[in-house]
């Protein structure tokens, strides 16, 4: 297998890059962060309606373009680089893959169609955002009722909840199985936006105090299977790893631009060898992470699903380490202005910390890989 982008993919990438450079500026991101807003409305409109990015990986039968993980990873990388404040990851990498993997045909037609058309933003209310298998952890309970179900429970943190037109709620049935329910806006749920350090990605809590839903709102095709969960989470983690890679590249780019101009002791900071070596080491880390992200993307669906999951776990490890390192170097190499609100490094830095904990920190992903490499299913 040779890894390279096709001419079509290259074109998608270049146009996305050009678009984001113009529309997703540092100023645009800051406007959202400083206002505590849920997202950049104009940017999201362009992405979802005009550019059709949400349709990219959705099968053609549901109104999508039928392209794959590589295209989505490319776009995630680029939105990550600009810290674009849009519910793209939650819609395209959390909600859509979960519906595709576990949804009924009806649900797919309805929701994947709406996502592909850019009509809705969607998210998933995972029980615990910080674990590697968040679909297994749910405290929301679904009790059968006359017309459908009653949902009860609280979810501490849901990404992009305030902006989402649709939230998918995994909930535990009486028999212990997990079912998936959809809630549109104002369907009885209580949403409380949280004040977060990383203002580029909004989080809110979700409370369901006995919310009655119709049977049609249950969207899984007979319970969430392990294979469906694995497939959805692979996409979520791959997209996140790509975004983290992009944010690392973005932090390095910002830093390179600064140190090429800033003069100390009569020389640009960029001319000091110790600084050069540290920037070069970031390139090494980027090369590793980018190779694994796009290698895993190219294999996804072709290789064995377990093998793909391991590669994607590895990509998360490399990308999480890299993103933090790139962001901390951005602060350090900016010197005095590096820890001010006015310059960009702190935005990359807070995003790095918040992303590292999402869907399993590095140690959890390494443990999964070890369980497979040692063939013992986990530490004895």
């Amino acid at each position: 297998m040779i890894i390279e982008f096709t001419p079509d993919q290259q074109m998608i990438r270049e146009e996305a890059q050009r678009f984001l450079r113009e529309q997703s500026s540092s100023e645009a991101t800051r406007r959202v962060v400083d206002a505590g807003a849920s997202h950049d409305v104009g940017l999201w409109n362009s992405i979802s309606h005009e550019l059709g990015w949400c349709a990219m990986a959705i099968p053609e039968e549901f109104g999508g373009l039928g392209l794959g993980a590589t295209e989505v990873a490319m776009l995630m990388e680029l939105t990550g680089a600009r810290l674009a404040c849009v519910p793209f990851w939650s819609t395209v990498c959390l909600a859509a893959p979960l519906i595709e993997a576990a949804g009924s045909e009806d649900a797919k037609t309805r929701y994947l169609g709406a996502i592909a058309a850019g009509e809705i933003a969607a998210t998933v209310a995972f029980g615990d955002l910080s674990v590697a298998d968040p679909l297994a952890v749910t405290s929301v309970k679904a009790v059968k009722s006359a017309g459908g179900y009653v949902l009860t429970g609280k979810v501490a943190q849901v990404i992009d909840l305030a902006v989402a037109d649709l939230v998918i709620v995994p909930a535990k049935l009486d028999n212990g199985a997990i079912a998936l329910f959809t809630l549109e806006r104002d369907a009885g749920q209580v949403i409380v936006p949280l004040k977060v350090l990383d203002g580029t990605r909004p989080i809110a809590s979700l409370e369901l105090a006995g919310v009655a839903v119709s049977a049609a709102q249950r969207v899984d095709a007979g319970g969430l299977t392990a294979a469906a969960a694995q497939s959805a989470l692979a996409f979520a983690n791959l997209g996140l790893a790509a975004e983290q890679l992009g944010a690392a590249q973005g932090a390095l780019d910002v830093t390179l631009a600064y140190i090429a101009e800033r003069v100390q002791f009569g020389r640009t900071i960029a001319s000091f060898q110790a600084i050069k070596h540290r920037c070069a080491e970031l390139v090494v880390g980027i090369a590793e992470a980018r190779s694994l992200v796009f290698g895993a993307a190219a294999s996804l669906g072709e290789a064995d699903a377990d093998e793909s999951a391991l590669e994607i776990s590895g990509a998360r490890v490399l990308a999480s380490d890299l993103q933090f390192r790139a962001a901390e170097e951005a602060i350090q190499l900016h010197g005095g202005v590096g820890f001010t609100w006015e310059y960009d490094p702190h935005l990359y830095f807070k995003r790095a910390q918040a992303s590292a904990a999402l869907l399993g920190a590095r140690d959890a992903h390494l443990d999964s890989i070890a369980a497979s490499v040692f063939g013992d299913g986990g530490q004895k």
Binding site: S271, T340, E342, Q353, D363
Partner: protein
């Protein structure tokens, strides 16, 4: 009980009976990342300390201090921090300005300025850094021109990273008083009141949302003729001597506060199950080890040990503590997991979040990591100096 134990007990007792009532709110506040928190109450606390003669306890008795030994000063710092004593608003006056005036000031200057520091009524800040200078301290562009009529100095330029300027009364300023001079020559050390036209203070919002630092703009601001320390041209010498006065006694108090942060991390990890992660456990143990090593390094530096090893290794202290603290911040967030990102009113979490963010400044201000490593290599190991460029 040794004399030192008796002394410790006295400090403990005083803190317990005074850091209470309205001052209880100050416990553990005003530290990393929130140097500008609760300023009025903390100034009142300075006056409370003064009333107990606990400001400037290391100053000589003839200048109003207690003339404490190094060991006693260490004990005071430790007990102060252990009791949760808040970040000291008077630190620059007590630790830097006072000792500098005692060494280099005129009798008149001592008489005028020392009491305000001792009494916790006048607060000082430091005018060293400049926007274009950064780590290159010799590259000072702020100018001081002699007014031949009054003998006063007229100052124009900009200082930056001036900690708590917006809450201070006076600033000491290093400025260029000889036209055309470069580097370390031709500098003057001036004392200037901040409340005057010609001085503008702009707070700099920092990574955690606070604004401890400021830019201070001078536009024909005035320093009185009698407020020059040393002679015009002595600025570099005085400025360097001032930096040397902070002999590191406060570092042991700082370490006590580090220990408290580490204790908090352990406490929270036991609550939220992070203590079951082998990697977290090892990182906590490693942090414990590093802190213990710093403690002994500080004790070596505070001794009179003049061995080549101790003098060389003393150069590493800033690098050590700042990087240790930076790593501790990351550990704290990893222990908090997704909660790390959410602002709550849990004061423990708030303290760790602010610490995490502001520790990013630790490796930059007061000499960046890169400058520290240059110093260790060049002064400690005698390796070749970095060549200056010509841009």
């Amino acid at each position: 009980m040794s004399d030192l134990d008796t002394f410790r007990a006295e400090v403990r007792e005083w803190m317990a009976s005074h850091l209470t009532g309205k001052f209880a709110e100050l416990k553990f506040r005003g530290g990393s990342g929130e140097g500008d928190a609760l300023p009025e109450l903390r100034k009142e606390w300075e006056r409370e300390l003064a009333a107990g003669r606990w400001t400037c306890p290391g100053w000589p008795r003839e200048h109003g201090g207690r003339g404490l030994s190094v060991a006693e000063q260490v004990a005071f710092q430790e007990e102060y921090s252990r009791a949760g004593g808040p970040g000291r608003m008077g630190h620059i006056g007590e630790g830097l300005m006072g000792p500098t005036l005692i060494a280099f000031g005129t009798e008149e200057q001592k008489k005028r300025f020392l009491p305000g520091i001792l009494n916790g009524t006048e607060f000082w800040c430091q005018g060293y850094s400049e926007p274009s200078a950064g780590s290159d301290f010799g590259n000072i562009k702020t100018r001081a021109k002699l007014d031949p009529v009054s003998g006063d100095w007229i100052v124009s330029g900009q200082k930056v990273w001036t900690s708590l300027a917006h809450l201070s009364d006076w600033i000491f300023v290093v400025a260029r008083c000889e036209e055309g001079s470069v580097g370390r020559n031709g500098l003057i050390f001036l004392l200037m009141p901040l409340a005057q036209s010609g001085v503008e203070i702009h707070p700099i919002k920092q990574i955690g949302g606070g604004a401890e630092f400021n830019s201070v703009f001078f536009d024909d601001a005035r320093a009185n003729a009698r407020d020059v320390v040393g002679q015009p041209g002595d600025g570099w010498k005085i400025a360097m001597a001032l930096l040397g006065f902070e002999r590191g006694i406060s570092t042991l108090g700082q370490q006590m506060s580090f220990q408290q942060e580490l204790d908090l991390i352990v406490e929270i990890s036991k609550e939220n199950g992070s203590d079951r992660s082998p990697a977290i456990r090892q990182r906590v143990a490693y942090a414990w080890t590093g802190l213990r090593a710093m403690r002994y390094l500080a004790m070596r530096v505070l001794s009179d040990d003049q061995s080549a090893e101790t003098r060389r290794e003393a150069l590493t202290y800033k690098y050590q503590w700042s990087n240790w603290h930076r790593d501790l911040g990351r550990l704290a967030m990893d222990v908090l997991k997704m909660d790390a990102n959410v602002v709550s009113h849990d004061p423990r979490r708030e303290r760790l979040q602010q610490m995490f963010l502001f520790a990013r400044a630790d490796t930059i201000y007061g000499g960046t990591n890169e400058i520290q490593l240059n110093i260790i290599a060049e002064q400690g190991l005698g390796m070749p100096r970095e060549p200056r460029g010509k841009l």
